[in-house]
Assembly symmetry: D2
Homo-oligomer: 347 residues x 4
């Protein structure tokens, strides 16, 4: 086939592949490792994990050095950037180490569950002058990005109502719930970030409510599994978020923005466009099962953006301040739930 159409525009030459270290070889770390490996501008230089076998196997797969010694990995002068994908309680320490090494940092959300620690951390990062990007992957999803761009272009007019639906396919074990910081800081934090991303101004008030309807063990662990939140901005725009830890039909992630000029909706993308007409019903695909299936493009776009940040072509789209602001909202949601009334958002 030699169709005489113009050449594709991506005929760029990539002479250099940035050497990145991955800290944390768990599930999300493996996603980033694969994307880094396959990216023409990046190279997985080193992998560190407290679990030696996890580090070794991932390193071997992509030809990267493997280690259990994070300090040694960070000391490598060839390094040009760091992905922090370890457990939440180690984020601040690793951010600070990387900042001292003057390395651009990508860190999975949340920065920490403790706001005071987050503030100290961000202050040091600022002093170090290194870019820090937080892993709110949904901002990079093509559907939500297109929606947000339309909002920014004024297609909905003045934003008056935002509705975010976010439901996981199955609840995590109660043991995880106990250390996760709870549904607001672990799960809804993504939606709270999305709310800020879409509202165009900061929420000034939050009301949260919820129930334990899915797994009594979650209630025994002191958490809820079904939650609703209403945010209000200074101007009076309203944002509703609903979360459930269990949607039997799969990962349900939808957004609606309503305003003076109309409404924008982003629906769940489906694996295939196949529809079946039978004697009983008309059937379509279910949504994707979970975030690894739902957000592959988002993870790739996130990396692309981070590489632009590292090379100074872009400011981080999701900064440490964004990471902090979402945590503030999550903490306020928790307080609202406990007090049973709306809470003003602290600045």
């Amino acid at each position: 086939m030699a169709v005489p159409h113009p050449l594709p525009g991506n005929a760029r030459c990539y002479p250099h592949r940035m050497k990145l270290a991955l800290l944390g070889a768990g599930r999300i770390g493996q996603i980033h490792a694969a994307n880094i490996h396959h990216h023409p501008r990046a190279r997985l230089h080193a992998v560190a994990d407290v679990n030696a076998e996890a580090a070794r196997s991932l390193g071997e797969r992509y030809g990267a050095k493997a280690s259990t010694d994070i300090d040694a990995v960070l000391a490598d002068p060839a390094l040009e950037g760091v992905f922090i994908c370890t457990s939440t309680d180690t984020h601040v320490e690793l951010i600070l180490k990387a900042a001292r090494r003057k390395l651009p940092i990508f860190c999975e959300k949340p920065i920490d569950l403790d706001l005071a620690k987050v503030d100290t951390c961000l202050a040091e990062v600022t002093r170090a002058g290194v870019p820090l990007m937080i892993g709110f992957n949904r901002r990079f999803d093509p559907h939500f990005r297109s929606l947000r761009e339309a909002v920014r272009q004024g297609e909905a007019g003045d934003v008056e109502i935002v509705k975010i639906t976010s439901r996981d396919p199955a609840p995590p074990p109660p043991a995880y719930v106990r250390v996760s910081g709870g549904i607001f800081r672990d799960m809804m934090i993504h939606d709270l970030d999305m709310a800020r991303f879409l509202l165009g101004e900061e929420p000034v008030e939050i009301f949260a409510t919820g129930s334990c309807l899915v797994d009594p063990g979650i209630g025994e662990a002191g958490d809820i599994d079904t939650a609703m939140v209403i945010l209000k901005t200074q101007r009076g725009a309203l944002c509703h978020i609903d979360n459930s830890r269990r949607a039997v039909y799969g990962y349900d992630q939808r957004i609606e923005v309503f305003g003076s000029k109309g409404m924008l909706q982003a629906a769940n993308p489906l694996p295939t466009t196949v529809t079946r007409y039978t004697r009983e019903a008309v059937l379509s695909d279910k949504p994707y099962h979970f975030f690894l299936d739902r957000y592959p493009e988002a993870y790739r776009a996130e990396l692309e953006h981070f590489l632009d940040v590292v090379t100074g072509r872009a400011e981080p789209l999701v900064t440490g301040r964004d990471g902090r602001a979402a945590l503030v909202l999550a903490d306020a949601a928790l307080q609202s739930l406990k007090l049973g009334k709306p809470i003003p958002i602290p600045r």
Copy 2:
């Protein structure tokens, strides 16, 4: 065409047409008048309105007696049922008059804006032993009815989340807002009834918030035009309602029910199934403009059901208690808005 397929099943014979009086010849009264006239089991016997010309013209159109004297109309011994479609402040008085006449009553919502008056009224109706049906037309919409039937059959499992979207195409004039009882008692009352219809148990708590974003005149009239409410039941199920007085794309009426076995959604029906693929986009129809276009089948089904009630074949699907309960929720929403916190629902 003489296709040898079986005959349709509606080959019933209707020997009697029930003689109904219509009180109130305004917009919604005209809808009921037309439906009564065209129904094989009903006849529009009389029309009464304080506006003599409105009564006369409607009566003439359908061959019904016209009058400005409601008492005279109700005194007619031939009468078998009454439709009350007058302004809200006259509902209780007319219900009581009809009840004394032992006539089955259909009354548009709300019964009254004052709960004490409602209670007195319902007590008298009970004593009179006449059936009273309230015009929550959406319960009769085929889409919502199908959704509710699926919920009742357990297709969603235990109901955990209900979401109701209800937006008008354009705001009423502030002068109307002033006498309407406000957004909760005038507009959201339909959604509050729908919430009760779907939740399967009574809400025990309500939180309401809102803003005036559409028309400053509505704010000056002491009301809001954009509202959100969260209801919670004893069992912990959550229901969210959002209202706006202005959706530029038309009348937006959607429902979502989420539970342990899945999700049910009722979307906006569209005037036609025509899709246009152009150089710029793929275009579908907008939703219907407003309730007269959106709910014609519901008004017809409402009448059908009322005729069954009159003939003793059915209990009212929407009773005076339902009318009262929705008003209680609307009042509680208003109180929550004023106090800025959740309110327990009084019994």
Copy 3:
């Protein structure tokens, strides 16, 4: 409820109800009888059927005279119009009788299976100067009408491809097939008329092919049950039609028009907008079961239009020439099938 919005525009006064006679009290006759009865401008004056009981019961239901004597019915000087819904072999005779009585005529399709008889009939109708409207109900379906209006407005640009899908839920008995004139004259004739309606110019060539895949009894009766046709116009526009006598998911009626400016599609309307998300799949309603459920608005709009024809407000949208032209195409399709090659359309 007394919302201060403008009154609906249908506040016309209908002083006169046109007296119509229905010939043929079968399934389709009953549809027309009900619509006539409920129409404010029409009255079912008389019903005639060779089956005395069928005539009597339909007449009783709607307060119309019933008879087995069509001549007597037509002789009634009060009559203002006639609906012919008898079996196809009687259409021409009854059209001629009604034409001699100078009555406006609505006749179900097809006029006759014999083209020579059709030509004689139409010539007499023309001489009599009475309007004759043929019951191609799909032209009055709101979805297809909206599609056609968009085509007429040039939204698709120059029409290049038309695709019509038309599938029945279940095959008729072979005994019916034997007298029906076959799939082209009994079933596809509707699609052939729709093709003419949409193409904007006459087809000049037709190719038909098909198989007996559904019911061997249909093959033994000399017919096929699965058919495809391609029409071509002078300008080179192409139209494809596919028919099946059995679609297990219901009555499948879709149209696609493609042209220089884009594409227009009319999909199957569905009974409700309810979608179910389960552990297994996402389910929507099936299409309507058959034409009585699918086309109620079309039958009502057809009557509305006929009343306008009777009162001289409109020319018939579907004339005797249209009925003839569709039959010519059906005959040519049959000839093409028999000869196994494309056939030029005779004028």
Copy 4:
């Protein structure tokens, strides 16, 4: 984030990357080059093109040897497989050279425009005992693959009707049309292959018709730009294909399979799920613009499958016989168009 869910299952180790040569560095060659480069089991070893600069720039981008000397490239003993993406008139010669080198071959469609040359070629390939895979990429599209798998599983029952829509966004220049072999051998050949893929048995008859409606230059080049074809199998199943060289709304690729148990449809996937509700309409995304945007997963899956073929894990899903069979159908379509009648398919 360290969610305690199971690890993804793709934790395989890839010790070896197969060394592949790419012949032809044009548009489609560049797609394969990128996919080969990014695949963990493959390596782009060499690129050959008569255009030295095209070869050099692609080779540089992916670290592959570049050459204008195909013989030299094929002589490299390290080579493990070949991608032939040159112009159609060179396919046979290159297939034969690769076959003599005993290399597994991937060749873009069509093998050749001359059936006799194809037969000679396939005979030699068979003698050489090397696997040959033809690039009918649509068989690897996830939507169509899912549809086909459902057909194979019997979800549609016995297949009775297949409908394939295939429209390009814009016509190629007439100069290209002149050497392309015409619409049937250049464009519809994909659909003819898809028809065979879905029908489950060979077509025995074909009828083709068409017009030049888009670009008179195409007509002057002796071709048509709007085409319809009907295929019929021994059993009587019917397949319709429609092609247009210009769909202003984008690349339109849809399939419908209808049978005794229901219908399966594969619709156009859309870039995003965003819907816009405005004062004027409800808008969705247009389909993708053209095949490079529409079929990226298909090209990747095609490579994946070829690697399995090379390593002996799989037989080619698209063989030389398939390439030949599609050409036979395209030739028969052209003959039917010329003769103006259906043509039996030669074996």
